[in-house]
Each structure stands twice: as C-alpha cells, then as structure tokens.
C-alpha cells in the first residue's frame, strides 16, 4: 500500500499551479467574478482556452496520436483538482468526455474538424440530455431524429442545457427508434447552434447559474453528425456520465476554500484578545470539515487508483458521488456558520466569502440530484455492492 502522490505526480501538481497562476491574469479574474460569465463564455475565457490548447493542456485523457496527453486517471484527477482550485470554468465536459468520444466514434468529418478544434480550445459543447419529462428517467427522452434524405431531421425540446447560450454545438441525445426498449432507441448527434432551427430561452437559478431551455425545430443534420452507431447512444451517455461523476466531487475546491478560510479565521480578531479560530465551536466546525475532506480525498484517490488498475467497482463510483455531493452541503454550511452573518453579505472587504463560499453553497444542491441522482446511486450500492434485491 502506498497512499500518497508519487514524486512525478507532485511535480505535475506544482507545474499546474504555476501554469494557472500565470494564465489567470487580472482581466480573466475580473471576468470570472462577473455573474454573466460564471459559466465561462466571455472573451478572456475564450482567450485562455486557446492558450491552453496551444500549450497542450486540453485533451489530457486523449491518445497521443490525436495530440492528447494520454494522462493516467490519477494525473487527470490532479489536473481537475488544480483547475477547480482556481475557479476557472474549464469546459471538462467538452474536453474530457464529449471530445474523446467524438475522437473515437465520430465520422471522419467529426474527427477531423470537431475533435481537432476541441483540442485547440476553439470549440465548446453543451450537453443536451434532460427534457422536461426526462430527468432521472433519462431514457424516456422524446426529442426525435428521423431519417431525412442523407441525414436526419431533429425536432424536440431540452431543458437545463447549460452553456447552450454560448456553445458552438449541442451533444444531443435523440430518439431514433420508437419500436424497441427505450434505452435501445437513442442516438447521439452533434447539433450546431448556429442552425436556424435552434433557439434557447434562459432559466435563472438559485445559485445565479443560468442554464437554458433549448428548442430544436426541423433541424437537418447530415449523417456525419451522428456519433457512434445508430441506436447505440445509451452506451455513450452512460460512459460520459461515469466520467463526469468523479469530476463533480473532486475535493480540490473545498480543500482550497478550507485552507483560505482557516488562514482567515486565524487572523480575524473577534475582540481585543481572541481571533475567530479561538472559539471552541469554530474549532470543532473546522475539524469536522477537515475530517470529511480527508475522507473525500481518499475516496476519490481510491477511485482513480481503481480506474488506473482496472479494478474499479460500480459501488466505488456511486459511493464517491454520494459522499462528495452530500459532504459539500454540510461543509459549506459549517463554513458559513464560522463567518456568520458576514457570509450572506456580498461585501468586497471579505473577498473570499464574496466570490466563492456563498455562491458555492447556493449551487451545491444541484450535485445531489444531477449527474445521476443519489437515490439511484444508493440503489446501485445496495444492488451491486450488497447483492440486495432490485428496488424497482
């Protein structure tokens, strides 16, 4: 057993830290604190992404022959961790899940044009899975792609299509066969957002995250836009969601916040003698946050180790998703208690709280039902891990 990063992995971490500290210049940081660019899409974001493409920092998991880095899962985890610490809205879904799938299963056109431009940091995808009546039960989605001339005609409506307001393409799941079991009749398409039949309306949310309702009205796409075999989209969706799940609960952002807040608590006076971290319950809150963070880090490390050594079990992945998403909510609550009333005030004099803690707490709940809801993850643990009977 050896539960620590290797020298090389530690070196990578340090290298990334240094790289990001130079990439995140004043202009980019200021754009990142503007609510309209919380999810990226601004000019500085686009600039930074191209620089990362030029410097070879996109396509970590991609094979070298595609111009990727062929990182191991542990190295990928470190990359995600370090970038999440900075708060930069890196488009992981595009670069690490949609991109590699197009590179592997896309048509020649898609491989040549789309995959390469993702690697250059020039193309962003939004994920078009959820529909008003297909959330947790995603396989019941109704958006249709019917054969038309040499390609397909797409009609339907999606909900919660994040980034669709600036994405170049939608990674769209559509029904291509109504006659078979619902999982078996779904295919994946690359749908350009500059098509006249595409439109969207914004949905504002509690955490100031803007997502979108997207509409597909007689959109014609050629068969080059189909990714993978016809009617085999479900496998692509599930492998994409599995990849996404671990990135969602990366311990980096909470760890970063924990250290920043602890340092702040140690120097923030509460009276003439004491600092904030002298208060007993504040100490206890910090210790609880620390304890959960250690566990989360180990859970995630064990999972990437499992991926690297091909011993990953389904239960480990579900456990990580549940533990992480539920821990975040408790950790943010305890952090907010420590800074008390100041944590709900947007005040420039307390910039850490201002820009991160408060907003992170408001967006945290999305993770417990998004990316495969925790109830279903618990079903998986009891079924696959404990060999208990199926619940439905």
């Amino acid at each position: 057993m050896k539960i620590e990063l290797t020298k090389n992995q530690q070196k990578l971490k340090d290298e990334l830290k240094e790289y990001f500290s130079s990439l995140l210049n004043k202009e980019l940081l200021s754009e990142m604190s503007d609510p309209q660019f919380f999810e990226g899409g601004g000019p500085e974001f686009k600039k930074a992404l191209k620089i990362m493409g030029r410097d070879g920092w996109i396509g970590l998991s991609w094979p070298k022959e595609f111009g990727g880095k062929e990182f191991t899962p542990i190295e990928q985890y470190i990359f995600v961790e370090e970038i999440m610490r900075t708060g930069f809205p890196f488009p992981f879904l595009t670069t690490e899940s949609v991109g590699p799938m197009i590179a592997q299963y896309g048509s020649d056109w898609a491989k040549e044009t789309i995959a390469k431009s993702i690697l250059r940091g020039e193309t962003i995808f939004a994920i078009g899975y959820s529909e008003p009546n297909a959330g947790t039960d995603l396989a019941s989605l109704k958006t249709q792609a019917l054969p038309d001339k040499e390609g397909f005609k797409i009609n339907g409506q999606k909900i919660w299509t994040s980034l669709a307001n600036y994405a170049d393409y939608i990674w769209l799941a559509a029904r291509t066969n109504n006659e078979v079991k619902k999982h078996k009749g779904i295919s994946m398409f690359i749908v350009p957002t500059d098509n006249d039949g595409f439109s969207y309306t914004p949905i504002q949310t509690l955490g100031d995250v803007t997502t979108n309702m997207t509409y597909y009205d007689d959109i014609y796409v050629s068969k080059d836009n189909l990714v993978g075999e016809l009617n085999s989209g479900w496998d692509l969706i599930t492998s994409q969601l599995n990849l996404e799940r671990l990135a969602l609960v990366n311990h980096g952002p909470v760890d970063e916040l924990y250290h920043q807040l602890l340092s702040l608590a140690k120097i923030t006076k509460v009276d003439s003698k004491n600092v904030l971290s002298d208060i007993d319950w504040v100490k206890s809150n910090f210790a609880k946050i620390y304890s959960g963070l250690e566990t989360l880090k180990l859970i995630c490390w064990k999972q990437v180790w499992g991926m690297e050594n091909n011993v990953l079990s389904m239960t480990d992945a579900s456990l990580a998703k549940i533990y992480g998403s539920e821990y975040f909510i408790e950790a943010y609550r305890m952090m907010m208690e420590i800074f008390g009333e100041l944590s709900i005030v947007r005040d420039d004099s307390l910039s850490i709280l201002n820009s991160r803690l408060e907003r992170m707490y408001r967006t945290a709940s999305i993770l417990t039902f998004g990316g495969g809801t925790n109830e279903v993850q618990r079903d998986i643990i009891s079924m696959a891990g404990l060999l208990m009977p199926r619940s439905r």
């Binding site: 947790t136 955490g207 208060i279 609550r333 907010m336 008390g340 707490y361 417990t368």
Partner: protein
C-alpha cells in the same frame, strides 16, 4: 397539558392568511426580488391592528409570533421583528417614557421609522455587545460597528446596544447623523451596516436604568429567537407542502416520484423536522409568556431552528430536482430566506456550545 391553539389564535391566523394572499402571489413577490421590503404591507398590517392592538395600544407578542409564522409561510417581504419586538416591546418593558409618542407616530404615519441595530460582525451573542461606550461629559462616546440592521436606512431612530464599564446599555438614537451603508444580502432583505466610531450617545437617549440593560437585551434575544423560529416554522411548512404536492404530481419511470420510498421517506423526515421545530417553539413560547426562566430552551430552539431550516431547505431542493432551484418556481426564495434565518443572531453551532456550557457548568 394542552397542545391545542385557542379559537382566538385560529381567528387571527385565518384573517392574516387572507390578508397576506394579495402580498404573496408570484407576480407580487417578483417586484421585491431586489429589495425585499414592502411599506404597503406594513401599513396594511397596522391598519388591521396586527402590530399594535387598537384598543389597548399595546403590542401582543403572541400575535407577532403568529404574524411571523404567516409571513414565513407566504414569504411576503416584511420582517416586523426589529420594529415591533426589539423596539416597541422593549420600550414597553423598560422605564422609557416616550413610548406613547412613538406609537402615535407609528399609527398615523405607518412607516418603519424605528428599528434596532444590535448585531455585530463575528459576534455570535447579541446579549454581549462589543460596541464600546466610554463615559465623557457629553454622554457615552462609542466605538464599533453594527451590521444587519433591518431598514436602518429609512428609520428615524434606532435602538442600539453597547457595553460600558458599568454594564450593558440600550439607547434609542437619531439616525440622521449616522454613517449608514446599505448591504447587499443574498436574501435581499433590507439590511444596513452602521459605523458607530465617535458617535456620542446622550444620557437622555438611554432607555434602561443602570443594571437593567443586560436583562432587556436577553429578553430581546429570546424574542428574536422565538420570532425566527416562528418564521422558520412557516417557511418549513410551506417547503414541506410544496414538496409533497410536487412529488405527488411529477412522474418519472411512469409513476409519481413520491411513490419511490427514498422520496417519500425523505419528505417524511421533513415532516419530523417540522414537528421538532414546532414542539420546541410551542414549549419556549409557553415558558416565555408565563414569565419562566427559559435561557436553555431558547438556546435549544435556536439550535433546532438552524438545523431544521438547513435540512428542510436542502431536502426540498433535492426532491424537486432541477425545479427546486429554478427561479420560475417559488421554492428558491424560501431557500434564501432559510439561510438568512439560520445564520443571523448566532447559529446552531454557537447556540449548541452556549447550551452545553449552561448545562454542564452553570446548572
């Protein structure tokens, strides 16, 4: 023993529900999303005798609690606590002489002209103010800051607390010369910050006799917790009702999601949480109105209020899926208000520690 509510209480609740109907529709609430205060609602409540009893010219704290519950439930943009409970009831209890003038002003102008400024940054116990008062020949010269003072920017006078060599004092001071900054709070409630450095408080504006300040402030804290718990009770009930209704309607896998045990059990936990809050609120309210010592019950209630608001707010969001965070559905406002009340006037962790000290050291 009797856990039932009186017919008078039921009547008050019914008429409040009716009145608040027109102050809680989606279109109405939207108008206050960037500044959650409606003077018209205050005026309406005063006109209908819900703040000050029109026959006796007194404030009935039991009515204020019911009002708070209903305001929590409807999420209407008003918190009467600072004006009515902190200022008016405290003046009613103290040796202060000018209360009838203030009531006259309130009843004729119907404005939030009186408020309190008691909370301080990183001070989790409002009974122990850190704003300091140094005795000088003109009165007390203050140093320190107050935060989250409700409607301070529109009030004429504010009740402030400070500590001196001679104990805690409360003073009702004019606001026109004060340095007031409005704060951008997530819930968009109308809070301000007050810099008291160099402010002189004249002896005439002090409302308590020597030695009486701490007692009054402890009472204010008790009422604040009771009001917060009442607001919370209303909010939690509404979040629970929304969740039960939504999960009964929303279908996934060809059946209502509420028919999945994981969903129905979590909703049932919200119900248990609501009961926990409700029973402890009733107990503390009873002790308060019977004049008993209730320091531990108040700390316990604050602890429970924070926990229940936190748990039910997240459970409701989770059980709604994406709809729980979308601003086109009413839940999100409740979640922001829940966090506000969880974190103001101390919090669950600070209350639990104070309670633990009380029960292991003092008693």
């Amino acid at each position: 023993m009797d856990f039932s509510s009186s017919s008078e209480e039921k009547l008050i609740r019914e008429s409040l529900k009716k009145l608040l109907e027109s102050f809680s529709s989606e279109d109405y609430l939207k108008k206050f999303d960037s500044h959650r205060y409606d003077p018209a609602l205050l005026s309406e409540l005063i006109d209908n005798g819900f703040l000050v009893d029109q026959d006796t010219n007194k404030i009935n704290f039991d009515v204020i609690k019911i009002l708070s519950e209903e305001l929590g439930y409807s999420n209407s943009p008003l918190n009467p606590s600072a004006l009515v409970s902190d200022v008016l009831i405290t003046l009613q209890e103290s040796s202060f002489k000018g209360l009838s003038e203030i009531l006259k002003d309130l009843l004729s102008n119907k404005l939030y002209s009186y408020t309190s400024a008691l909370n301080e940054p990183l001070n989790f116990e409002i009974e122990s103010p850190k704003v300091n008062g140094k005795l000088s020949n003109k009165g007390y010269e203050l140093s320190g800051t107050k935060i989250l003072s409700y409607n301070l920017d529109i009030a004429k006078k504010a009740l402030i607390s400070f500590i001196t060599d001679d104990g805690v004092y409360l003073a009702l001071i004019e606001t026109d010369q004060l340095e007031i900054t409005t704060l951008d709070v997530t819930s968009k409630a109308p809070y301000s910050k007050l810099n008291l450095d160099g402010v002189i408080v004249s002896k005439e504006s002090i409302i308590n006799k020597s030695g009486e300040g701490l007692y009054l402030l402890k009472d204010i804290y008790a009422r604040r917790v009771l009001i917060q718990a009442s607001l919370a009770r209303g909010m939690v009930l509404k979040m629970l009702e929304l969740t039960a209704a939504y999960t009964s309607e929303r279908e996934q896998f060809d059946r209502p999601i509420g028919s999945f045990q994981a969903v129905s059990h979590r909703a049932a936990n919200m119900f248990i949480d609501h009961q926990e809050l409700d029973l402890n609120l009733q107990q503390a309210s009873y002790l308060y109105s019977s004049g008993s010592d209730l320091e531990n019950q108040i700390l316990n209630l604050k602890y429970i209020t924070g926990n229940v608001l936190h748990r039910t707010s997240y459970a409701a969001q989770h059980l709604h899926g994406g709809m729980g965070v979308a601003k086109e559905y009413p839940l999100w406002r409740y979640c922001l208000s829940a966090k506000e009340h969880e974190i103001i006037n101390g919090n669950s962790s600070s209350a639990l520690e104070a309670l633990s000290k009380n029960i292991t050291l003092n008693q």
